[in-house]
């Protein structure tokens, strides 16, 4: 018997306390998840409509017509990495960060990669590895994602893109599929590309008239669209974070329960052993006294 009864009892007590905490955290995450999930779900139809609108616009526009659509030789790449501010959510952050590193070493090796980090986790991770981010934001994804934040971040990126400092912009985030699954997604934000079709000069059909003119509409709609894409990614990531935390805490609670069970068994065994030992001692001493 490795542990004394008292030790086991103390251990059970501490695990029970941990279990209480993880259970509470699971509840909190579940409540937050509901809100974040609602926000993300309501945003989806909006995003799809906007994408439809942009895609019908883009399909009737040559990519030379607007700077945000223009392709060029890629030398500088901006990666927007969305992670959480807080931990205890399983592999949620790790998956995104691993994917980012993989991209930096494969697809974008030889290119100048600039990181724009959202969430404290990404910041700490790359700081530890000696990679200095171009921008780092934390504490903006707490209980809800704010469009104004997304807009601010994107304004800077759009400005960099327009003055030629960056040639491509990607966002890497966890997409909320369901409570159990968050899929790491890499999405190209700039230059704007809808589907796989590259608009060329030949297949342009003027389906629409523009009011006041095409230029104005494109200039209003396209920046808004990329901002909305980032905002959507933030919403999805937030919902994913709470889902991941909820699953992680649920697993932790179950594990704690199992540990308590096995420790209780150990405790009972130890108790039984000590009772048996005492009985043996008593009976042997009685036997000894008889003689």
């Amino acid at each position: 018997m490795a542990l004394s009864m008292r030790d086991i009892k103390r251990k059970i007590g501490s695990i029970q306390k941990t279990q209480q905490i993880t259970k509470a955290m699971k509840m909190v995450a579940a409540a937050k998840l509901r809100r974040a999930q609602d926000a993300a779900m309501i945003f989806r139809p909006f995003r799809n409509k906007l994408e439809q609108m942009v895609s019908s616009l883009v399909s009737s526009t040559s990519h030379h017509e607007n700077d945000l659509l223009r392709f060029r030789d890629v030398k500088n790449v901006d990666l927007i990495v969305i992670t959480s501010d807080r931990g205890l959510c399983g592999a949620f952050n790790h998956n995104v960060l691993k994917e980012t590193e993989k991209l930096m070493n494969t697809k974008f090796s030889g290119k100048n990669v600039n990181l724009i980090l959202i969430g404290r986790f990404a910041h700490t991770y790359f700081k530890f590895r000696g990679i200095k981010p171009k921008e780092a934001y934390s504490d903006i994804l707490k209980d809800r994602a704010e469009f104004s934040n997304a807009s601010e971040i994107m304004d800077k990126i759009i400005a960099d893109f327009l003055n030629g400092e960056t040639d491509e912009v990607y966002v890497i985030y966890n997409r909320f599929v369901n409570v159990l699954i968050q899929r790491v997604t890499v999405k190209k934000l700039l230059p704007i590309m809808i589907g796989d079709k590259v608009p060329s000069e030949h297949n342009i059909v003027e389906k629409f008239t523009f009011e006041p003119d095409k230029e104005t509409v494109l200039n209003e709609l396209l920046p808004k669209f990329v901002k909305m894409e980032l905002y959507g990614a933030m919403l999805e990531s937030l919902a994913g974070e709470h889902a991941a935390r909820m699953t992680a805490m649920d697993a932790a609670t179950t594990n704690a329960g199992e540990m308590i069970k096995s420790l209780t068994l150990q405790f009972n065994k130890a108790r039984q052993a000590s009772i048996t030992k005492e009985l043996i001692e008593i009976t042997t001493s009685i036997e000894a006294m008889k003689q």
């Binding site: 926000a39 309501i42 945003f43 139809p45 909006f46 409509k49 906007l50 439809q52 609108m53 019908s56 616009l57 469009f147 389906k207 629409f208 008239t209 523009f210 009011e211 006041p212 104005t216 509409v217 209003e220 709609l221 808004k224 909305m228 905002y231």
Partner: protein, 133 residues
């Protein structure tokens, strides 16, 4: 009689979806109305009131802030940053704000960087007052 399929969405909710006979919106170059059979077009909206006339129902008025308007073969998409119905407006507060930003606007010159932003705010609160009263 042909009808328009209208859907109005914002990032936080789906405001309206259904068949209407007429929709009027505040365009950048002035208000316009769309009836069934309208030519396909896309435009940018100003801050202002959107009028929707569903069939056999009362006319609906909505305040719209920062939006796009698309017509494709009698399908109308309105995408906006913010949409408010009459019930969402606090009249007193709107009046107060309208006055406040109007004063601010009159102190700004036409080429001030904030002019456009404040003008939109004035328009927003004035439209709110118009909507609620």
């Amino acid at each position: 009689m042909p009808e328009l399929n209208v859907s109005i969405v914002t990032p936080s909710k789906k405001v309206f979806e259904g068949k209407v006979e007429y929709i009027g919106a505040p365009g950048k170059l002035g208000e316009f109305g769309v009836l069934p059979g309208h030519e396909n077009f896309i435009t940018v909206l100003d801050v202002g009131l959107l009028e929707v006339q569903p069939k056999d129902q009362e006319k609906m008025k909505l305040l719209i802030v920062g939006g796009y308007f698309e017509v494709t073969e009698d399908n109308v998409f309105v995408i906006a940053d913010e949409v408010m119905a009459k019930e969402d407006v606090d009249l007193e507060k709107a009046k107060e704000n309208a006055q406040k930003y109007k004063n601010e606007l009159s102190s700004l010159s036409f080429d001030d960087a904030n002019y456009e932003r404040v003008r939109r705010l004035v328009k927003k609160y004035e439209s709110m007052v118009e909507l609620a009263s």
